[in-house]
């Protein structure tokens, strides 16, 4: 049993729903009690979909248990087929139905429907949403895809795009952007799946020469199987950021045997110049904490370091299936990766790291709000705001432009930051003022006394940040001097000073200690 306040991922059958809802002509019959239909609103409200997810729930009740839940499933399945006439069906159980062991796969098979019916085994008490999506997509591909296509007959300049789902973080726009990029390279897209694909499209996946995997969390299992069954190589670079997009172009160009030099020399991405222009100097060494799904967290770490010149002070993911590459990336940055799905652990790690910017999910946005820190969202779990009306991909050159704006926008601009340090009592540039371009949003805390770390977390966890044992305290004038440091770096200054004092056996921190520490750490 694990105490959970907020979760990063839903149960695996919600992952299956993300596949079913992304596709057309597929229907999902889910053995589930009343209440599990809440999942529909993820799609109709958060993603603002204009149709109900293609899911039939059996809605069994306590009084049905032990008598005829199997019959209820069979009827629901038969009626769903008659009403929706899908090309294929997936059947399975939610967490409660898993416990009553009705075997939806066997029951559906007994109906002998004239369409492929694919049973899903999604263990709810072990696995989570992304795994469920990945497994569902893999089962569909494995059951439906023809494997008898002669590789020699294929157009070498053709590929499939695998991984985009319903409720994905910017999947809709990423697909448009990447299709555009592939077209500019002279590569045709055979099938995009699961987003907007039909079961009949999955049948012909083998007609492409290779696979582009945009989201390994959902697409990699299927792509690996296709590599074996259909001899299709798969891409391994996720085109988020300018550098990664260039690497991606090189990889697909090699698979397709096309000349990519024109596309690689494309100057349409503004990120490199914007980042190099002197206005961005103030971004140098900004401390950034990154947490998200593995794909987006890894991409963000590379982009943050290499293309914006940030210091990555924390890197983590809730995707345990992809912990290894995240650990490797963190190690390369001199960090220990945070692999957890416990929101409270993430909050504690952010307090510990004292970043100046958080790149995270909607949940880190709430942590950031409480800490008074700027934050940009880089990954699912999603919120209605992650489905903007405007075109805003994360991938490709345009995606890099979008990311530059999204990450830089919440920050205090360079000159403003200086003014704030110079004129601390100014009415507009005072300590607690929000970046002036962000309107009147006040910081959560009272300005002159607040430290980010003392802001109460969601659940009143005493976040015990280890105090250096020898320090007895701050002299009053030193404390006052500390408060002259802008709030967004004050926490770091306090920590550094206390560490410096501890290491040097200083018992009472004076103004001198503060500046000694500043000199010591100014590397």
């Amino acid at each position: 049993m694990q105490l959970t306040v907020w979760t990063y991922e839903g149960p695996p059958h919600v992952g299956a729903m993300r596949i079913a809802t992304a596709m057309k002509g597929l229907h999902y019959v889910l053995h589930a009690p009343q209440g599990d239909t809440y999942a529909d609103l993820l799609f109709t409200m958060i993603e603002r979909r204009d149709a109900r997810p293609p899911v039939t729930y059996t809605t069994f009740q306590a009084r049905d248990l032990g008598s005829d839940t199997a019959e209820i499933f069979k009827n629901a399945c038969a009626e769903a087929y008659e009403r929706f006439l899908p090309e294929a069906m997936i059947v399975g159980a939610s967490c409660t139905a898993e416990l009553i062991q009705d075997d939806p796969g066997g029951l559906a098979k007994a109906l002998a429907l004239p369409i492929p019916v694919i049973p899903l085994e999604l263990p709810s008490y072990q696995k989570k949403e992304n795994w469920g999506a990945s497994e569902t997509f893999y089962r569909l591909v494995r059951d439906l895809c023809r494997t008898d296509i002669d590789p020699a007959s294929r157009n070498p300049k053709s590929c499939n795009i695998l991984g985009p789902t319903a409720l994905g973080f910017r999947h809709r726009d990423d697909v448009i952007e990447i299709k555009k990029l592939l077209t500019s390279l002279g590569i045709t897209v055979n099938v995009v799946a699961p987003l907007d694909a039909r079961p009949s499209d999955l049948v012909r996946l083998g007609e492409a020469a290779f696979n582009v995997v945009l989201y390994p969390e959902t697409g990699e299992s299927a792509a690996r199987w296709l590599t074996k069954a259909c001899h299709q190589p798969m891409t391994t670079v996720i085109p988020i950021g300018v550098g990664a997009t260039r690497d991606f172009i090189a990889q697909v160009a090699e698979f397709a045997g096309v000349d990519a030099s024109a596309v690689l020399n494309d100057r349409s991405s503004r990120l490199p110049w914007y980042s190099a222009s002197v206005d961005s100097t103030y971004l140098t060494g900004k401390r950034v904490f990154i947490f998200g799904d593995a794909t987006h967290a890894l991409a963000a770490a590379r982009l943050a370091k290499q293309e914006l010149g940030f210091d990555v002070v924390g890197l983590g993911t809730f995707s345990r299936e992809f912990a290894r590459p995240v650990r490797e990336a963190a190690a390369a940055l001199g960090l220990e990766a945070l692999i957890t799905d416990d929101y409270l652990d993430v909050e504690a790690a952010i307090h510990e790291a004292q970043p100046e910017l958080i790149l995270g999910t909607q949940m880190e946005r709430h942590i950031a709000k409480r800490m008074g820190l700027p934050c940009a969202v880089i990954s699912a779990p999603v919120h209605v705001q992650d489905f903007p009306a405007r075109y805003s991909p994360q991938m490709g050159f345009e995606g890099a432009n979008v990311i530059f704006d999204t990450w830089v926008h919440p920050l205090m601009m360079g000159l403003e930051e200086h003014l704030l340090a110079m004129f601390r009592d100014d009415k507009e540039f005072h300590d607690g003022a929000a970046p002036s371009h962000l309107g009147h949003a006040p910081r959560a805390s009272d300005t002159h006394t607040e430290e980010p770390r003392s802001v109460e977390p969601a659940i009143a966890t005493p976040i015990v940040i280890e105090k250096a044992p020898v320090v007895t305290g701050w002299a009053a004038d030193a404390e006052k001097e500390l408060n002259k440091i802008p709030f967004f770096v004050r926490g770091k200054a306090r920590r550094n000073t206390e560490r410096f004092a501890a290491e040097h056996g200083v018992h009472v921190i004076t103004i001198e200690t503060l500046y000694d520490a500043k000199a010591h750490f100014s590397r």
């Binding site: 839903g10 109709t44 409200m45 149709a51 109900r52 809605t59 248990l65 072990q126 659940i459």
Partner: protein
């Protein structure tokens, strides 16, 4: 699939009192009882709701809350995992561990609810025994109660019913009471509760209590001198517990709109012998304000046809309100469950022959809705946008549960919840279609 859209036979008697309902048993597009925690955890200040359930339960709470609010939660989920199911872990030990961790983190908790879910019910975790055991350990600092919000037993607002029933069963008995107490039962917005308190005080009622109280330590006593009045229509189990403890129900409709509020207040006033002059003095101004507020919406709503999908059990009183006070025509009134005794006063005021349905088979109900082509559809969040995309005007029903709608000074707000979607469609004109 075409069904005959004939209203079920209406019987003799007043309004819909003896009206038969269409009972349907199929896919229910409704929340389970856990969702009640979304408002209950804000209502009872120092209570915490610990769901013993699955990742699905946690995800539901987050999604239901995430769409609407994202405040500091006073609820959480103890997620059952494989080890618990395989018997590798002792459930009691596991639960004790989670509760200890929680109480350490949240020293402000005085009342802890262990909330049962579908999986905890199916694997038969005895939360009643667990609550008693934990109560003993943590008394007097923390009281631990239990109830079930599982979807196999409860629909949406029935979760509040189960919670209040647990509170009522646990409430102290006051044997020394010599005068009657008026107990208002059902969670109301604080602003509404305060308005009712003021009106009852003006009528001269001294002993007025609310269940649930705002603070865990202030839960009212219950006994033979308790006269209770339901402020919400979904409290069947709570009423039964109250009756078992000797409390007597004041028969009343529900306090929605000008007329509903007056009838509700009048029932309470009559039970306590408040004379007409005192009653009028206490309610006249509020009633007048409600009528003024409602008049602003009536022109737009008069004669419009409305279709209710089942959601909160508030559908019958809401249908009464939109029909009687806004002049709307009722196409179908669906409710998850119809408690005839508690709704007798509302049913009597519905037009005879109204199509009432109970339970749900959502695809068939959607067929009926499309065939009837109503002007306004009241439905859940899973159906609203898809129906809007089909050209229907919808009101998401959950807002009717999360908004203060009871009482005179909220009558206009309640009408506005129904009129705003129509207003919006008019303003946008052909934007979507063209």
């Amino acid at each position: 699939m075409n069904l005959p859209f004939r209203a079920p036979n209406s019987g003799p008697g007043r309004g819909c009192t003896d009206q038969t309902t269409l009972k349907q048993r199929g896919q229910h597009e409704v929340f389970c009882g856990l969702t009640g925690i979304v408002w209950l955890h804000r209502k009872i200040e120092n209570a915490f709701f610990l769901i013993v359930g699955s990742r699905t339960c946690a995800h539901l709470m987050q999604s239901a809350a995430g769409v609407m609010i994202f405040a500091e939660p006073r609820f959480g989920t103890a997620i059952i995992d494989e080890r618990d199911l395989a018997g590798l872990a002792d459930i009691d030990d596991e639960l004790d561990g989670v509760v200890n961790k929680l109480l350490q983190r949240r020293p402000d908790i005085e009342l802890l609810f262990l909330v049962g879910s579908c999986p905890s019910e199916v694997i038969k975790i005895d939360l009643k025994r667990a609550a008693q055991r934990l109560s003993k350990i943590h008394t007097p600092k923390v009281r631990v109660l239990n109830y079930s919000g599982s979807g196999i037993e409860t629909t949406f607002t029935q979760g509040e019913d189960a919670c209040l029933a647990a509170l009522a069963a646990d409430a102290p008995v006051d044997h020394t009471a010599t005068t009657d107490t008026l107990l208002v039962v059902g969670a109301l917005a604080d602003v509404v509760e305060d308005q009712f308190r003021r009106m009852f005080a003006t009528m001269g009622l001294k002993n007025v209590a609310f269940l649930p109280a705002k603070r865990a330590a202030d839960m009212p006593t219950i006994g033979p001198r308790t006269r209770y009045i339901l402020a919400q229509p979904f409290l069947g189990d709570t009423a039964r517990v109250l009756e078992d403890r000797g409390a007597k129900r004041i028969i009343a409709p529900f306090p929605l709109g000008a007329e509903g509020t007056t009838a509700w207040l009048k029932a309470a006033a009559d039970a306590f012998g408040v004379d007409d002059a005192e009653f009028t003095a206490a309610t006249e101004a509020g009633h007048r304000r409600a009528l003024i507020a409602l008049a602003a919406h009536r022109d737009a709503m008069q004669g419009k046809r409305i279709f209710f999908f089942p959601d909160s059990q508030l559908e019958i009183p809401l249908a009464r309100f939109v029909h009687e006070e806004l002049g709307m025509r009722l196409v179908e009134v669906g409710t998850p469950y119809l408690h005839r005794a508690h709704l007798s006063e509302e049913l009597a005021r519905l037009p005879s022959g109204t199509f009432l349905s109970e339970g749900q088979d959502v695809d068939r109900q959607l067929d009926r809705c499309r065939a009837e082509d109503p002007d306004l559809v009241v439905c859940g969040l899973g159906l609203a946008n898809p129906l809007e995309a089909e050209g229907f005007t919808t009101k998401w029903s959950i807002e009717l549960v999360f908004t203060p709608i009871q009482g005179y000074d909220q009558a206009g707000d309640l009408a506005r919840l129904f009129s705003r979607p129509l207003d919006r469609r008019t303003r946008l004109g052909g934007l979507l279609c063209n």
